[in-house]
């Protein structure tokens, strides 16, 4: 075949190849959020309450233990599951009931959950129970929020202060 013709055909092939590469490198565009949507992320890291209260050991029980283990308190390791409900305008948007992780269910619970919501003004209410020994929520929070489109609202919990942080 004529060399010029062959180079022409090669140019066509390379153009098609690079056309495919260039196109799928950025197109079709992916719309992760609609224009009127925002996002709420629940990012809670919290050690829930022990399932059973610590108990003071009797002198007889202590006597049975080696001297270095006589701490005086018997604290069962197992912690409560964490029950949390996030509602927007009275309607639940995130509801979780999570067991404490670990073989002895004694580890810190880590929740990271996101949900898309309509942007605009909402009433945010959070109810959380972190103890099987208490009926009903152990922590609650209510707040009016105004979400801009594409805004990320993060709900965290400050264990030391015992309150939610809405940012």
């Amino acid at each position: 075949m004529d060399k010029v013709m062959r180079i022409f055909l090669q140019a066509i092939n390379f153009t098609v190849f690079m056309g495919v590469v260039g196109y799928f490198s950025i197109y079709p565009e992916f719309k992760y959020l609609q224009d009127d949507e925002a996002m709420i992320t629940l990012a809670i890291k919290h050690a829930s309450q022990r399932q059973k209260e610590c108990r003071k050991m009797s002198p007889e029980e202590l006597a049975k233990l080696p001297p270095n283990m006589r701490v005086g308190m018997d604290c069962p390791r197992e912690r409560s599951p964490l029950d949390i409900d996030v509602a927007l305008d009275g309607k639940s948007v995130i509801a979780k009931n999570i067991e404490s992780p670990g073989l002895h269910k004694d580890q810190t619970i880590d929740i990271f959950e996101s949900i898309k919501v309509k942007a605009g003004k909402h009433m945010l209410s959070i109810k959380m129970n972190d103890s099987v020994r208490v009926k009903g929520p152990t922590f609650t929070h209510e707040q009016d929020i105004a979400l801009e489109p594409a805004q990320l609202l993060v709900i965290q919990f400050d264990t030391a202060a015992g309150k939610f942080i809405i940012d």
Partner: protein, 522 residues
């Protein structure tokens, strides 16, 4: 007769188009592996340049990339675009490479290892690209980071939430530096190791693609880089959600799935596809013929077969039979593809040896020993009728020779044309054949990788054992034909017949002239 396979036929049509455009030597489909390597070299060189200017801190990464893209567009910007587009081109090339092996049924049997190790290697390439997008630290980088973290969080091996790192105020330079280390060193090293494993069972591995192809690919990459420079999204803002994303679908195609599926479902899909692809060589398995056998009595340990073996199945070791030669040949049965190329390599396969008894060679194929090849050739030659007799040698993986229905043509199909000892052609010409036509897999596309290449070199006198000078080259023709090239092959046979007839008529004229001259001279 081979069954009709639309995928194979479709691939062969594409291959033919590229043969028309590029010619056999530069056909990109014959060099997909080395082309992928070439794109990696481009990625590596451009990546090193970008790294010189790249700031591996949360606050500095985006700015440094922007500086390269805009302030230094003429070099840094071009390098960035080359880095991206060469990475994408590598994925396209790898996928085509896999498709080709699948379409041509070159992923089962003795090839299982390359396929099996190649599938996860693709994932190493993809994860390398993912961390690359992460490092730009724009909206897309943030999206990739968050969703990669969610994927990791779904695995029981990760304690706590990795995605938490991407909340405002939590992102640290240390984490970012770790990602930089992974992308710049950790992942490339793993990838190189994976590639080494991938080609472990091959010899004469071609990692440099032909210069013309490399040049064309580079010019095309440059053109795309200048026409459509790679740019960033807006800088990552941890208080905002990346909404509109220009995703690189070659690398980030699974991420949109996380919008509709749970992370575990995405894991199951990817693990499932990967697992399925990895076990494809056994769905169903393909039997490989019996491995080559060594006859030490006929082996002088020259090592030509070991050098020619395309699958690294032959090694040389110290002689064990007390013969005066230093080495002997050892065949690893589990690596042997049973292609017979070693038979064509062996000097002892000289067809003119042991004329009156069984021809035993140094290394032979139990399913089609060289002695049987000789006797079958003699049988075929004796069965050819017509004035001009042509013997066509071919292989079992190209055009099905049984479909040739031309007068005066005999056919001999071997496991691979690389199995043909050059002396076999000479033998045919000496035993009543007017011409020998050698066909088989298309140039550059041998089913056993190097069969037709070694055969050509032997016939050209560039590789041992060579076709002797005394063999009449004008009566030997080479024309490669895939299963869709029947018409072309038939045309070639007829042209060759005409050529042979013209040779014969010239010879008759010469003989007649000589006789006339003799009469005139009294």
């Amino acid at each position: 007769m081979k069954t009709f396979n639309p995928i194979r036929r479709g691939y062969l049509a594409l291959e033919e188009w590229f043969n028309i455009s590029f010619g056999g030597e530069l056909n990109p489909l014959y060099h997909l592996g080395s082309l992928a390597f070439f794109f990696f070299w481009v990625v590596l060189v451009s990546g090193i340049y970008l790294f010189v200017f790249f700031d591996t801190s949360v606050s500095g990464a985006y700015k440094s990339v922007e500086y390269l893209t805009h302030d230094q567009w003429y070099l840094g910007g071009v390098m960035r675009s080359l880095h991206r587009y060469a990475s994408d081109a590598a994925i396209v090339t790898i996928i085509l490479h896999m498709f080709r092996e699948f379409a041509l049924d070159r992923y089962r049997g003795f090839r299982w290892f390359s396929w099996f190790t190649g599938v996860p290697t693709l994932w190493f390439v993809v994860t390398l690209g993912i961390t690359g997008y992460w490092l730009v630290w724009d909206e897309l980088g943030l999206y990739v980071a968050i969703f990669s973290a969610r994927l990791m969080d779904a695995l029981p091996i990760v304690s706590g939430s990795m995605a938490r790192n991407f909340l405002e105020g939590q992102m640290t330079d240390r984490f970012f530096t770790l990602m930089g280390f992974l992308h710049l060193l950790g992942q490339p090293v793993i990838l190189i190791f994976a590639l080494w494993i991938h080609v472990k069972r091959l010899s004469h591995v071609e990692i440099s693609c032909p210069r013309g192809l490399a040049l064309g690919s580079f010019i095309a990459l440059m053109a795309l880089s200048l026409y459509m420079p790679a740019v960033s999204h807006a800088p990552a803002d941890l208080s905002k959600v990346p909404a509109n994303l220009k995703i690189d679908w070659f690398y980030l195609n699974i991420y949109p799935l996380l919008d509709i599926w749970d992370a575990w479902d995405v894991w199951l899909l990817t693990i499932g596809i990967t697992f399925f692809m990895m076990i494809m060589p056994w769905l169903p398995p393909k039997k490989t013929g019996a491995a080559a056998v060594v006859h030490l009595d006929e082996c002088n340990g020259c090592g030509q077969c070991a050098d020619d073996c395309p699958f690294d199945a032959i090694t040389m070791q110290q002689r064990t039979d007390g013969a005066r030669w230093e080495y002997e040949v050892v065949v690893a049965d589990n690596l042997c593809a049973a292609c017979g190329i070693c038979v064509g390599s062996c000097h002892s396969s000289n067809i003119f040896r042991y004329k009156d008894k069984t021809l035993e060679t140094g290394i032979d194929m139990p399913q089609f020993p060289v002695d049987e090849v000789r006797s079958k050739t003699a049988e075929v030659i004796s069965s050819i009728e017509g004035d001009t007799k042509i013997l066509v040698f071919g292989c079992n993986h190209a055009y099905d020779l049984k479909q040739i229905n031309e007068p005066g043509v005999g056919i001999m199909s071997l496991i691979c044309t690389g199995m043909i000892p050059p002396s076999l052609v000479e033998y045919a010409l000496k035993n009543g054949v007017d011409g020998v036509l050698l066909t088989g897999c298309r140039n550059g596309d041998c089913f056993y990788r190097y069969g037709n290449i070694w055969m050509d070199k032997r016939f050209d006198g560039d590789r041992k054992p060579v076709l002797r000078e005394r063999a009449d080259r004008s009566r030997i023709e080479v024309f490669r034909a895939a299963e869709t090239d029947g018409k072309k092959l038939t045309t070639k046979i007829n042209e060759f017949r005409q050529h042979l007839e013209s040779l014969d008529s010239q010879a008759n004229v010469t003989q007649h002239d000589a006789a006339t001259q003799e009469v005139q001279n009294g």
